[in-house]
Amino acid sequence: MEQLAEELQEQLDCATVFYIGPYGIKESIVVTWIIMAFIALVCFLMTRKLEPDPTKVSKRQLIVETAVDGLRNLVHGIVGEEAKEYGPYLMAVVLYLGISNIIGLVGFKPPTKDLNVTAGLALMSIILIQYAGIHKKGVKGWLHSFIEPVGIMLPFNLLELVIKPVSLCMRLFGNVLGAFVIMELIKAILPVGLPIPFSMYFDIFDGLIQAYVFIFLTGLYIKEAVE
């Protein structure tokens, strides 16, 4: 039992891979680089020599068109027509989160298991939400939105500014971490066979759902901000 706790503790810690001067770069950053390179490479290979004539498209182009169409429908269904320009960011995030949540299957440590990653994403989300509000309503309108519907709501609205990113960050982090811990416990009970169905749920299904939930909430907040 003591051994299991030790091992779990070790697994949960995000190792520092190397140092740039005095600053340690963690494993999650390196895995993120790998994911970025993978996404960029796949995008680059898939979008070479696109044929505009719809009667002459190749299979590869059909796949990439379907995927992009699906992503666009997904994101535009969340943010609506008014905030369409924030769609590409959400699509990039959902691609990154989707891949990083299921990357545990191929042996990497999911970057989303590191609080820094989810915190960074949540920070960017809240900045984007406020930017969307300022961009749409102007600084005055944005400031005014804090005392809506009545002035007494000001502290709660200010509190929301903190709660929103914390909740986004913790939800994603906790889900991935929880799934990881439960998977480790199952593996400790029986390493063969038993983890497969659970891995299906915790690694693939839950990972993708959480990626969707993250951009869903971000998109919802953006939509709320531009209304």
Partner: protein, 163 residues
């Protein structure tokens, strides 16, 4: 695990921004470009089809017009022919009528002439017969019975002749 490290946080933010631009450059830009090209292509095709359709419409209209014209012309021709035929028919009937009446007239004239000649012949014959009779009467004026007989004879003869 549960500690926030500012360096890593900044690294992640930079990473996400870089990823966003990578996705934008490598995925959305070519796709949008292709979509725009496709739209243009489709628009061009649509325009071409529209032009072809318009041309076809024009052709059809012209064809219809010429067809209508031909129809009118043929109708005109038929009407003309009809009137001409009617005229001819009328003239033929008229001339036939005239001919017939002429013929009848001629026939009547002929009949009248024949009649007149017959009359004349009869008159001369009667005169000859009267002369003959007179001569006979002169020969047998005494015999009353014979006279009567002769008279009857003459009458029979004359009747036969005149009929």
């Amino acid at each position: 695990m549960l500690s926030l490290d500012p360096v890593n946080l900044i690294c992640i933010i930079i990473n996400i921004l870089v990823l966003f631009f990578l996705v934008k450059i490598f995925l959305f830009k070519p796709i949008d470009k292709m979509m725009a090209a496709r739209e243009e292509l489709l628009k061009k095709q649509f325009d071409e089809a529209e032009a072809t359709r318009q041309k076809a419409d024009e052709l059809k209209a012209a064809y219809q017009a010429s067809l209508d014209k031909a129809q009118e012309e043929s109708e005109e021709i038929i009407a003309k022919a009809k009137t001409k035929a009617q005229k001819e028919y009328d003239s033929i009937i008229k001339s036939a009528d005239e001919d017939a009446s002429k013929l009848i007239e001629k026939a009547q004239e002929k009949i009248a002439a024949e009649k007149a000649e017959t009359m004349r012949n009869m008159k001369s014959e009667i005169a000859v017969m009267v002369m003959g009779a007179t001569a006979k009467i002169m020969e047998q004026s005494f015999d009353k019975e014979k006279n009567q007989q002769f008279y009857d004879e003459f009458l029979a003869e004359a009747g036969e002749e005149s009929v």
